[in-house]
């Protein structure tokens, strides 16, 4: 699989919520080669601190070679990213890893929690090529509170999907965990794509296994290279052997992962 290092100019940098941003960069090579579920490694600083690149899912690809990232400010790397203004240059490597496998078993449920929603937008857009009408798919999105979720719900709705939302504080949609929404829809879907915090994915994986519905999860680990070179990004497979998230993943079949919670 080809990957590229690209100096990409910032086209737009939108603040969606107090600590959530959408960054649009002009990165034609990476955009063109990207598939849903893949990621990029972005340099967040020109100095040695923070040192390493940061991994972010490809949130969307739009015409003219535009690549979109959706990120939350967590620590020093994302704090540095926050300062990027349109016209400034960023340095990206991508697309990296293995993304979602389009399943022929339909309809699908796309379930995202928090920043795990990021890769699902690009996935949702790409589902159009498959048979089921968009209304048949289920989009379940969860976040802490309405301000963080509302703009993303809009995005999916604009693609013609029906979205069910859940918030921890009940300010939008279901008051509770997004996993609770899955129970209802699970009988009517034949494949689940999920990305979110580890405990959420573990819960979903259990539900899907019980219901015998195939489930793909997109995992996060600390990464130094994203290229399969540092061997730092390991997770356990069920037999306790290791998988490297940047190379074998970040998207895995839920049954190929040892869930440790």
């Amino acid at each position: 699989m080809p990957n590229f290092q690209e100096k990409a100019l910032v086209q737009a940098h939108e603040q969606l919520a107090p600590d959530i941003f959408r960054l649009t960069v002009h990165s034609p090579q990476i955009a063109q080669a990207s598939a849903p579920g893949q990621f990029v490694m972005i340099k967040s600083s020109n100095t040695s601190d923070p040192l390493l690149r940061r991994p972010f899912s490809i949130h969307d690809v739009t015409s003219g070679g535009m690549l979109h990232l959706l990120y939350k400010v967590i620590g020093k790397g994302t704090r540095c990213l926050q300062n990027l203004s349109p016209g400034e240059q960023t340095d990206l490597i991508g697309p990296l890893g293995h993304g979602f496998q389009f399943s022929v078993q339909e309809p699908a449920c796309l379930l995202g929690g928090g920043m795990g929603i990021a890769p699902l937008l690009y996935l949702a857009k790409s589902l159009q090529n498959v048979s089921s009408p968009r209304q048949d798919h289920q989009i379940l999105l969860g976040a802490r509170t309405s301000v963080e979720l509302a703009p993303l719900v809009d995005d999916f709705q604009q693609l013609g999907y029906t979205v069910q939302a859940a918030t921890d504080d009940g300010s939008l949609g279901h008051h509770g965990f997004v996993s609770e929404l899955l129970e209802e829809v699970l009988p009517s879907v034949r494949t689940v794509y999920v990305c979110g915090p580890h405990p959420l994915m573990a819960a979903i994986a259990r539900q899907c296994q019980a219901a015998d519905v195939p489930c793909q999860v997109s995992l996060e680990t600390h990464m130094a290279c994203g290229l399969g070179a540092c061997l730092g990004c390991t997770i356990y497979a069920p037999d306790k052997s290791y998988r490297h998230v940047c190379k074998h993943g970040p998207v895995f079949d839920a049954n190929e992962v040892l869930w440790t919670l």
Binding site: F4, I93, A224, A229, L231
Partner: protein
Amino acid sequence: MDAVKTIPKADLQVNIGGLPLRNPVMTASGTFGYGREFENLVNLHRLGGIVVKGISIQPRPGNPPPRIVETSSGMLNAIGLENVGIERFLTEKVPYLKTLRTKVVVNILGDSLDEYAYLAEKLSGHEGIHALEVNISCPNVKKGGVAFGVDPEMAKAVTAAVKTATDLPVMIKLSPNVTDIASMAQAVEQGGADSVSLINTLIGMGIDTSSRRPKLANVIGGLSGPAIKPVALRMVWQVAQAVSIPIVGIGGIETAEDAIEFLLAGATAIQVGTANFYDPQATEKIITGLHQYLYEQKEICVRSIIGTIRLGSST
């Protein structure tokens, strides 16, 4: 910038104890996979050499996660020497490496003298393998797990064992976690080493304060990156005064300026490690920067600057 392209090219060739390199810029073991991982991002043919991930006799799964942590201007790793083992290395990795017009150095590790000797012998006589680098920062299981690399006698013994087992040039990679790096270098020189490379990582640690757990599953790990450059440079300079075999400088090298510091301190070549992760172009930029520096310093050959640090009063 344009000047960089039009300056006359200097002679960058160096020889590391029997290993001739087209230029002194190599990649460090464990930071460049088996080369191919970077084929889309780096012109591999342009490199002086590639040192592959450390190889053991049996495949090793490595340590449990988490294995890496970022630190200020550095990173800690406790990969645990995960590797495919010598058999798969020879069958799966060497065929590709052979196609490269760059020198390939195989980093080896073991937990006894016999293992080192076995690896050295098995790796000899293959097209596409040009030298061995011996990682002696591993625990000697027969000596209660003390690392070979912190005891001069053990380090000398590993060197001798490897030298006896192979005709390939042998580079011994020194651990910086010692009181007296110069005497370690002297010991391996006496053991017959063709060259020394230094430094491997400094031992470090991090703790997650909210869980009170170590940030690495292995508790301790190796510190690398720009943070350690001053220590690495000091050790290279000390070793340069103590031995007469060639030295390969490693530790936090990211720019041509960093690389030149090591050459001035006495290194004949350098390896780029952690920088490959965040700046895959680092090696190529260093090669370009070396030409530029030599031009500015009115030198036509990189060998003329090795060890030319100017000591003594500046006024």
